[in-house]
Structures are given as structure tokens and as C-alpha cells.
Amino acid sequence: MSGGLRKDLRTAAIAILAMTVVLGLLYPLAITGISQVVFPGSANGSKVSVDGKVVGSHLIGQEFEGKAWFHSRPSATGYSGNVTFFGNAGPNSAELREEIREEIAAYLKVNKPYDRSLTRADVPVDAVTQSASGVDPDISEANAEIQAHRVAAVRHLPLAKVEDLISQNTDSRSLGVLGEPGVNVLELNIALDQEAPLK
């Protein structure tokens, strides 16, 4: 073995251990320590509580069924927060065509009785397509507006009141310009349930 190679082996051996310790342990543990002190809420998942009981995370969508709730976007993962994957439906998939047809029909079936003017052309894309994360916390404003009619009727609330709650629980674009506005479904449903609890 040449002297140069032996020297490289020794240097490399020290380097990989030192880098593993510094970049692999000191760095992430220091960031963890600082985050836990300075940003404990967000570092641990931006959890949301009702009456002192954690019911979810502001950032993670969950499943809502039944007419009294705003519904989240369709999910490929059953809204899993710990086993994630993409739906991977291709753009020309016959299966996807059928799924979207069914989603549109189901959306109209549950919402149209409360808003007779609703047609297929009014169905917002986000309401019938699977999100990327499977836990999209948001729905579009158009989607929330449509569901508001149903939720208001079922909970015996004035439509204007429900629309207020929607605007209060809409995350607008960051800095007014970045991203898209989204209505946070969990926060909206919490606010709704406090306004008019289900019996």
C-alpha cells in the first residue's frame, strides 16, 4: 500500500467519524434543544386543543363525515399522519376517471339539497381530487362556501354566521402573496362546534 493511500485512509477514517458526530448528532440535537425551548408549540406539531384536550394539529387534516361538518379533501391514505404515500393516479387512468365521477356525484348529493343552484360545473377541483400529503389541512374558499349552506342548515345557524367563521379560519397567502388561501377545516369545525354544538 502506498504511503499516500495509507494517509488518505487514516484521514478519511477520522473525517467520517468526526462528521458523523458533528453533523449527525451535535447539529440536530442542538437544533432540537433550541427549538424545544424557543418554539415548543410548532416544534411538537402545532397541536390544537379543545377544553384542554388535544384534538389534532393545525397543520394536519383529519377525516370528517356526516352533514354537520365541513369535509376535508379526499385522501389516498385515510388521513394517516404516520404512514404516508402518494395516490399515484396517472393523468390518463380510467380508474381515476371513475373515482372523480363518484366524488363529484357524492359531493353534489350531499350539498345540493341545501343549495339548489349547485351544478357539476360549480364543483371546485380540490373537493374531488386527492391531495399530495393525504392530510391537506385546507380546502379552497369556493369549496367551503358551498359546504356552508349544508352546515348552516343542519346546525340551524344563519348562513352569514357560518361564512364569518369561514373567513376567520382562512389562512390567506403568506405575506399576502405566497401560496394559495386555504380554509383550515379542523379549526373551522372546532369554531363551528363551539358556536352551535351538536346535541
Binding site: I16, I31, S35, V54, L59, F86, P91, N92, D138
Partner: protein, 587 residues
């Protein structure tokens, strides 16, 4: 769409504004000059040299010595990472109690992270301990990025050097790039991300009783510290399986903007660094202009295609037009908070660079939108490209363009005053052609045999063909994004590795492709640097073909498209383009 274009424009303006300051800073780091962090970090730098027992100022390396240090270092790190992935059962920071996954998957994952690819057959949150993520994978996010940048620094020194064979010192480059560039930005960036909602803890996953009485389990872990370097080092390996679409990795429009900027800031800044080091900013801006033109073209195509919606959506009667309160467009596999514009922009960014992190599902892109990632990878990751790797690969194309341009006008090819000889051109051609060859051979082997069929999700359709082609295109180009239906790992009882097994063919073939297509070009590039170093510089005259004007930028774009895209044109036609041009749905 106007609002979307406005966001894209804002991004571009901020990026261009950062090119010069970042470029100057990186040039000072490469030149072993003092930077503003030197008073604080200088003692650590000197301590690192003592620990490594190197005396960088006295130990300039020629290209063979530089390459040997790099290969030995990478080889030892490969072994260490493989061991870490194989010993999960005895590791600390393992609240979920995960054991190791199968050996063939570990082979693929190790090769993937050593080579800056971050191709992922596994799902991070369901298979890996926090220890393996932190001390195994995230370390490589720093190290493999620094290796790419170091090779570029060595190549530039070779191009510039007028005497002697030294390309610098590999160990010094690694220490300085990590200490002065990657680590400081990561510390600040990670804390910013946590403040915006990215998680950073060592807790067990949290069981939640939801508002309507259901149960939901939230994955936890040290995410922010990995997220920031995953973007900054153009690595791309997600802590979570759905990568930067998961809200705990990328919670808002602002974090999305920040993460996109992290991906491009070093590759874009390096063009300025290059101009500064060769003594002519115009040289750097010319390369930047060629990259920028190719980048913007991709952004516009993918955005328009995604805004249009997909064949399946139209066949189902879905109205994909935008209207008040709805973005419209193909929202399949996209999250609301980014919308069509930001998912499209991210898609272009992550595929022109060799990052590969995604904030939406590539397999659900429209046919024409999906053509853009294919084309970007087919160009060979030279449009900004990976940190360091992008510019050193582009410089091979620059030399090729000088040679072809010189032949066309009947002049001796010269670059920056140095004659381009037969040896340089042979090495450049090998460097340029190796990755396409690796891609086509492996994708061909996988699609022509039964062995590759097991990995398909979409079956024998254009989408299935796309899955297979993209898998090897992505691995050979060290990108790491995926048509994610394609798999080399089956995990029946997620979370955890109980009963999980790898698809050996896909795992091993992919692993070999990643390693060879990373290190063979690196060796060719260092050999080019060695051949250029110490060459006599002849003064530019009237007969010299200029390489710092729009004509040359245009020639460069042409050569890149000619060599890169045409190599893959027939294959890409069979995949996403077929999807895009066909109005029908398949099986």
C-alpha cells in the same frame, strides 16, 4: 394564472438578486480567503485540520491525489452508512422500536445518499430510526453536497491555473464548504422552519383522539434539521415518504418559497463564483443566462399544462377552469396551500437541480406537465443542476460547445486562452455520455425483462413506462424524485419493517447505477481539470471565438438540447408525451 405568474416572478427576482452576494461569498470560501464568519469559525477550521492531520497550505493535490482522497473518503462513508442502516435495532433515538429493513433496500439507500441522489424506495417515517435519519442520512446530505461543490472548485482551479498541477486540497475544501457554507445556513434555516411549523423533536408518534371521536397518529421526529440541508444540498430525501408535501416538512406558502430558494441558491450563485474565479463576470453570466432560459421554459410549460387539467379529470366531467375561490387545474396530488403555481414551480426547480424533493405527486402530473421533469433530467442536470455537480457538468458542455463551435468556423478550439486538445475532448465526451448511457441501459434492462415488471404500479401503460424510465433517469442523474408508483420495497405491515422485503433486482440495479453515474463523471471531470491545469494561456485575439456573449449562450443551449434531450426523445415520447397527446384513458 396572473397571480401564479406574479409569485413565479417574485421568486425569480429574489433568486437573481441573491446570485451575486452568494457567488462572491462562495468564491472567498473556495479561495481560502477570510469571510465574515472567520473570526468565529476560524479556530474550528484550524482544529479540524489538526484533527485530520492535514496541512492544506503545504499539501496541494494534483487531480489523481484529489480523486484518490475523494474516493477513499466516499468508500469509507458508504460502509459506515450501510452499517448504520443494518443496525437499527440497537440504536438510540428509536422510540418506535424499528428494526432494520432488508439488505438489498439498504444497499440501494446507502448508494442513494452517498451519491447525493436521495432516491427513496423506503418511507422514512415508517422504516427508519431517528438515529439513522440524523447520523446516517442527514450527514450525507451535508457531505455529498460538499463533495459535489469541492469537485467544481477543483475543476475551476484547473481551468484557471497557469502553472503547476495542484487543484487544491480535498480535505480543506470539505472542511471549508461544510463549515462556512452548509452548516451556518442550515442552523439559521432550520430554526426559521421550526418557527413556521416544521417539527423538531425526538418524541414517539402522537396518538390523537380527533374532534369527531376518531383516532389519528401523527409522525414526529427531528425534521427541520434535515429538511433545510435536504434542500440546500440539493439532496431531496424526505423525512416523510410524501416528502415536502407533508405539512410537517413544508407547512405554508412562505416555507414553500424559502425551501425552493434553498434548492437553487447555491447552484445559481456558483455561476457568479465561476465568473469571479476566471476573472470575467461575463463568462459566469453567460452560463447563467443559458441555464436560466432553459429553466424558465420548463416552468412555463409545466404551469400551463397543470392549470389545464388532466385527461381523466375532463373525461369525468370535472370543471378544471379557475373561478372565484378555486385555483382550478390539476389538483390531483397537490396540496391547497401551494396550489397549481407553486407545485409547478417546485416541480421545475427540483428537476433542473438534482434535488428531487417534491411537494406534489409527479405521477399525477398531466402528460405534458410530466414531460418537463423528464426533459430536465434528460438534459443531464446542467440547468443549475446539483450543488457543484450542475456547474461542473455544464462546464463539460461549455468545452464541448467551444470545440463544436470552433470546428464550425474553422478555428482552433480555445477556452479562456487554453487550447482544447484531443485528450480534453475525449474526457469531456465520456463525462457527457456516461449518464445517458447508464440510464438507457438500465431502464432498457428493466423494461425488457420480467424482473423489472414487479416494480410497476401502473402496469403496461404509458404511465407504467414512465415509472420505469423515470426511475433510472432519476437514479442515474442523482436526482431522486420519482414516478412514485415504481417500487423496490414491499412493506405489508407499515409502520415498521416486520415482514418487509426488497425487490432485489430494482434495488441492486438502481444502487449500481447511482454509484457509477456519480463517480465516473467525477473522475472524468477531475481528469479534465488535471489536463487543463498548468496549460499555457495564449492572449485572446481577433481569431478567438468569444465565450462570453449571447451568441455563445445560444450555442450552449443548442448543444445541451441536442446532446441531452435528443438522446431521450424517443423514450420520452413513449411515456408522458403519449399521455399528453392522447385524449383517452387507459385501463
Amino acid at each position: 394564472m396572473l397571480q401564479g405568474y406574479l409569485q413565479i416572478a417574485i421568486f425569480v427576482v429574489v433568486l437573481v438578486a441573491l446570485v451575486k452576494p452568494v457567488g462572491i461569498y462562495l468564491a472567498r470560501v473556495f479561495g481560502n480567503e477570510r469571510v465574515f464568519l472567520s473570526p468565529a469559525l476560524g479556530p474550528i477550521e484550524r482544529g479540524a485540520y489538526r484533527l485530520l492531520r492535514v496541512r492544506p497550505e503545504a499539501e496541494g493535490q494534483d487531480w489523481k491525489q484529489y480523486a484518490r482522497s475523494l474516493i477513499v473518503f466516499s468508500l469509507l462513508f458508504w460502509v459506515l452508512l450501510y452499517l448504520i442502516l443494518r443496525t437499527q435495532g440497537i440504536q438510540p433515538f428509536n422510540p418506535q422500536g424499528f428494526h432494520s429493513g432488508p439488505w438489498d433496500l439498504s444497499f440501494n439507500t446507502t448508494s442513494s445518499f452517498i451519491t447525493n441522489t436521495n432516491w427513496q424506495y423506503y418511507g422514512g417515517e415508517t422504516t427508519l430510526t431517528y438515529f439513522a435519519q440524523m447520523a446516517g442520512l442527514a450527514v450525507q446530505n451535508f457531505v455529498s453536497a460538499a463533495v459535489g461543490i469541492a469537485v467544481l472548485a477543483a475543476l475551476i482551479r484547473g481551468i484557471v491555473s497557469r502553472s503547476g498541477a495542484s487543484l487544491g486540497n480535498f480535505w480543506q475544501d470539505m472542511v471549508r464548504i461544510i463549515l462556512y457554507v452548509l452548516l451556518p445556513i442550515s442552523v439559521v434555516g432550520a430554526l426559521f422552519l421550526v418557527s413556521q411549523g416544521v417539527i423538531q423533536n425526538l418524541s414517539h408518534s402522537t396518538v390523537i383522539h380527533t374532534l369527531t371521536g376518531g383516532t389519528q397518529i401523527l409522525g414526529q421526529g427531528p425534521v427541520a434539521s434535515q429538511e433545510v440541508i435536504k434542500e440546500l444540498g440539493t439532496n431531496g430525501g424526505g423525512f416523510f415518504n410524501v416528502n415536502s408535501s407533508f405539512p410537517f416538512e413544508n407547512p405554508s406558502g412562505l416555507t414553500n418559497f424559502f425551501e425552493m430558494l434553498l434548492i437553487l441558491v447555491i447552484p445559481a450563485g456558483l455561476t457568479y463564483t465561476y465568473g469571479r474565479m476566471v476573472g470575467s463576470q461575463r463568462q459566469g453570466w453567460t452560463i447563467f443566462a443559458a441555464m436560466f432560459a432553459l429553466f424558465i421554459a420548463g416552468v412555463v410549460v409545466v404551469y400551463m399544462a397543470e392549470q389545464h387539467g388532466s385527461v381523466a379529470q375532463h373525461a369525468a366531467g370535472l370543471n378544471t377552469h379557475a373561478f372565484h375561490g378555486s385555483t382550478g387545474g390539476n389538483m390531483e396530488g397537490k396540496d391547497q396551500r401551494y396550489g397549481i403555481a407553486n407545485t409547478s414551480l417546485w416541480t421545475a426547480i427540483t428537476t433542473v437541480t438534482s434535488c428531487g424533493a417534491v411537494n406534489g405527486a409527479f405521477e399525477s402530473l398531466t402528460g405534458i406537465g410530466g414531460t418537463v421533469p423528464f426533459a430536465n433530467l434528460g438534459l443531464g442536470e446542467v440547468v443549475f443542476g446539483g450543488v457543484g455537480t450542475g456547474l461542473y457538468s455544464m462546464l463539460l458542455y461549455v468545452i464541448l460547445a467551444v470545440f463544436i463551435g470552433g470546428l464550425m468556423v474553422g478555428r482552433t478550439p480555445e477556452y479562456l486562452g487554453k487550447k482544447i486538445g484531443a485528450r480534453e475532448i475525449k474526457l469531456v465526451s465520456l463525462g457527457v455520455l456516461f449518464t445517458p448511457l447508464a440510464t438507457l441501459l438500465s431502464a432498457g434492462a428493466a423494461s425488457a425483462t420480467e424482473l423489472g415488471k414487479r416494480s410497476l404500479y401502473a402496469g403496461i401503460t404509458p404511465t407504467g413506462f414512465s415509472e420505469n424510465l423515470y426511475a433510472y433517469l432519476s437514479q442515474a442523474n442523482n436526482n431522486g424524485s420519482a414516478w412514485a408508483g415504481y417500487t423496490g420495497f414491499v412493506q405489508p405491515h407499515a409502520p415498521g419493517n416486520v415482514g418487509a422485503y426488497g425487490i432485489t433486482f430494482a434495488d441492486l440495479l438502481g444502487g449500481f447505477v447511482m454509484v457509477t453515474a456519480r463517480y465516473a463523471p467525477i473522475l472524468f471531470v477531475l481528469a479534465v481539470a488535471g489536463a487543463m491545469a498548468g496549460k499555457k494561456v495564449s492572449p485572446a485575439g481577433l481569431g478567438t471565438m468569444r465565450t462570453d456573449n449571447p451568441t455563445f449562450a445560444f450555442l450552449l443551449v443548442g448543444i445541451v438540447i441536442l446532446v441531452g434531450a435528443l438522446t431521450f426523445f424517443p423514450a420520452i415520447l413513449l411515456g408522458p408525451v403519449s399521455n399528453g397527446l392522447s385524449g383517452s384513458v387507459f385501463r
